[in-house]
Symmetry: C2
Subunit: 217 residues, 2 copies
DNA sequence: TAGATTGTTAATCGATTAACAATC
DNA sequence: TAGATTGTTAATCGATTAACAATC
């Protein structure tokens, strides 16, 4: 049934938002919805919604619409949210701590095994139940526990140094909060999702300026 | 000279990354670069680079290429990075604290005035020099200090409650870390930049799954 | 001047929207 | 059956890439 191969990244990036809206509907006791209604709610076109859902095989029904609960779970399945991919977090500064305590990894397809940092003062402590270990022990740890994903909450230079060694230790996916462009590295099998907060803020800066210009005009 | 109006958001979103690479070149003492060289470095096409830069009026020179320093500063100017837009941060949980201490607002076009939260235990303290004030005083504060941008590090429901009152108080831009979709609100003059960390992680979850499927295939 | 590389126009590619026949 | 709404094909729109004349 599922024909998931080769679905474009634009579609994938919309799935979490669809799921969010469907979750809200579910909470409000809505059991069916048409692409038209959902489109209005989400500020999209009904065409786009039908096209998007059909990338994965039709789970609507003509004349009826979509079953909210089925669709919600289907999207979760497509995203692999019940897939406990073992992960490690590297860098326990402000950002690393926030990510460790703020994100619900288990509900997003991952299982966080632990946190690594070089600051001796915090080794042995834990955050949100995740133990903080010394970065020097990460090699040993990876050989034993085989994490597949690494979260990089490190400065540029340190991320640059660590990326290749981590790949050599079996890491195949990065959630990258550093400014180092991992994608530029040789290995094409590595998947990377970047969160460049500063870039995001600069984009906002541009938009605020545009806003001003419009007012003047 | 600048013809910045109506530049597409795809182009704008690439500007911070260009600036980052140009900054690196500058650090390494490189003074000129051709679109071809930069394309190789960044994994883009030289065509795209020339198209992008030309959205803002040609600052290259035929037969020579681009002056790295001039281009770096030009991009900063386009993004409005020296524009101290007054901003407030709302929600001083893990994420809010990380944003307040991790982001260099001054170098990104903003000036953070202070932080608001409802937890009495932390009111009066400060983070990274920014005072923490009670959320009940935000109305008064906005009337006096006139911030234009608000950073929302709040749960869904609280963000939903606060968005419209903040707009009424003169906020015209949001850096939104909550899951509430501010864009869905009536006012078209409001600009919003969303940082949906959970969505980002779910996208990564999907990609890791695809990775597996490919190996099996 | 000759070589290099831009700025810009044209061609291609992909993503979004519109239209409508299929069908519940 | 009639009405509604999907799934899917075709049309449009926008973004990326290719090509090349302009020019430093």
């Amino acid at each position: 049934m599922p024909k998931e191969s080769g679905v474009s990244v634009s579609v994938i990036k919309r799935l979490p938002r669809y799921r969010r809206f469907l979750g809200d509907l579910l909470t409000n006791g809505v059991h069916r919805i048409s692409s038209g209604e959902l489109a209005t709610k989400m500020g999209l076109t009904s065409s786009q919604i039908r096209q998007d859902f059909n990338c994965f095989g039709g789970f609507g029904q003509q004349g009826y619409g979509y079953n909210v609960e089925a669709l919600y779970h289907e999207i979760g399945r497509i995203l692999g949210l019940s897939n406990n991919i073992p992960a490690i977090l590297i860098g326990c500064g402000n950002l690393g701590r926030a990510v460790a305590s703020h994100i619900n990894f288990n509900e997003r397809g991952f299982h966080l095994l632990g946190i690594f940092d070089s600051n001796p003062a915090i080794i042995g402590r834990s955050i949100n139940g995740y133990p903080i270990m010394h970065i020097d022990t990460v090699t040993e740890f990876c050989k034993e526990k085989r994490p597949r994903m690494a979260i990089l909450c490190l400065p540029n230079q340190e991320a640059r140094k660590l990326a290749q060694p981590l790949i050599d230790l079996g890491i195949t996916a990065f959630w990258n909060f550093s400014h180092f462009d991992i994608k530029m590295m040789q290995n094409p099998n590595i998947v990377v999702e970047n969160v460049h907060l500063s870039d995001s803020l600069m984009t906002l800066s541009y938009m605020v300026n545009e806003q001003k210009n419009k007012k003047i005009k």
